[in-house]
Symmetry: none
Subunit: 248 residues, 2 copies
Amino acid sequence: MNQRQQELLDRLNRSGKAVIEVEAEHFGVASMTIRRDLRFLEKNGLAVQTKKGAIPKPKIYAAPLNMAEDSAVKRKIAVRLLEMIEPSSTVLLSTGTTTLTFARLLAQQNLPMTIITNSIPIASALFQTRIKVILIGGELRTTSLDLVGPAAEKYLSEYHIDLLVTGCDGADAQQGFYTSDLNLANLEKLSAKVSDKVIVITESRKFGRKALVKFAEIADVDAIITDNHLKAIDRELITRNGVEVFTT
Amino acid sequence: MNQRQQELLDRLNRSGKAVIEVEAEHFGVASMTIRRDLRFLEKNGLAVQTKKGAIPKPKIYAAPLNMAEDSAVKRKIAVRLLEMIEPSSTVLLSTGTTTLTFARLLAQQNLPMTIITNSIPIASALFQTRIKVILIGGELRTTSLDLVGPAAEKYLSEYHIDLLVTGCDGADAQQGFYTSDLNLANLEKLSAKVSDKVIVITESRKFGRKALVKFAEIADVDAIITDNHLKAIDRELITRNGVEVFTT
DNA sequence: GTTAAAGATGTTAAAAAATAACATTATATT
DNA sequence: AATATAATGTTATTTTTTAACATCTTTAAC
């Protein structure tokens, strides 16, 4: 990378964008030269070419965080859960999109509490709040920004948790809760074991969809928070197990 | 925003990019329609139009993340370090801006190796590459997205590392290396202990600036990689300790 | 139900931008 | 200085984007 390319990259990072004609003027070179420079920067993962120029390459870790948009349904569930949280308690918040929505809500509340999680997006969402955040170490999954594996389990086994809050990929009112990753299922089982109380938060549409691995029986949990489209029969089956059901 | 635009945004966020012709095909509409949709998404701050399509709008995150831009000096140091890395080795990459620059370089190379780190940005930068990433658990610092504390130390103490790569906040050619956080210093000391080899990468301007806590003597490290503005006297003092110095 | 209006989508010609190919200039090497 | 090599500039060609307008769809009013 030559002097001009470096300065171009610096200007790009400083201002957030580069316009070919403007840069060609600034450096006193042909626009073709700037085109070649931007091509070079893109090739090296430092920039992304846009319509008439380029922008800095979006940092990789930002993208997955943006992926999980908060849906209206998830936000309602999160608000319902918030009412049930004891201030100053220690909560284990497992990876998932609904739990992430809840974490974003918590960040706004800024309560003095401790959150333990295996999700990088959740930890990031709680960054620079009054909440003390402990991230469980482990192997980074290639499918999502969270940590699982034996090391994660070992790490977690030394904690004692007041409340576990987790989501699920699938649920059945008689069978229990499912996730699509075996490693994650193991971690979830252990999480429930070290926690005094377990709450599952999930959209009602997850009911009837079984995923790869079961990580908990219905009776293993203390409460389920879901939206108001939960079928009456499912609700009946759950409460029969002594599990509380809260809807939005 | 209509149904198609919603789904288009969804696909955009999921895959990280949208190509006009591909999307037109997928939705069974004219490419002009997708152009109009992307124009709309850009206008609403949800996407940035690129050469033949668009990417999701890079969200600006907390200041500490954005400040860590790759500078030309850091990139040169990172390139120099890359030449010295054994493929398939296990490297402990400590938190820092220079180490983050190196991680970004590594992500482009996509070598089959294992990286252990206590930095969330570093772990994220290596997400979805062939590199196996292990994130050390611990307490999230409020000043930067990394993990420290007794739990982190306990976690780390069970590993054996080929090579530790770390930066520093301050350095002195006679006294050693400094950082501004006591917890981090403790972790750094332990990191050096569990590693066969230690390389410090740092900009030469850090020399002569002492920070709060010393975490290593000069003689504790095997090599230092810095830029070519390192003073001759500093270089002399370092090599006298049997420590190799590489400059860009 | 009909009809007008507004909005969305499709089509195509014109404009703009990007590329490729080659010419020229600068830089490095011997 | 001669030569090779790399970088930059120029321009013709191709591709992409835009703008303008035609057509189709939806909505709302009557």
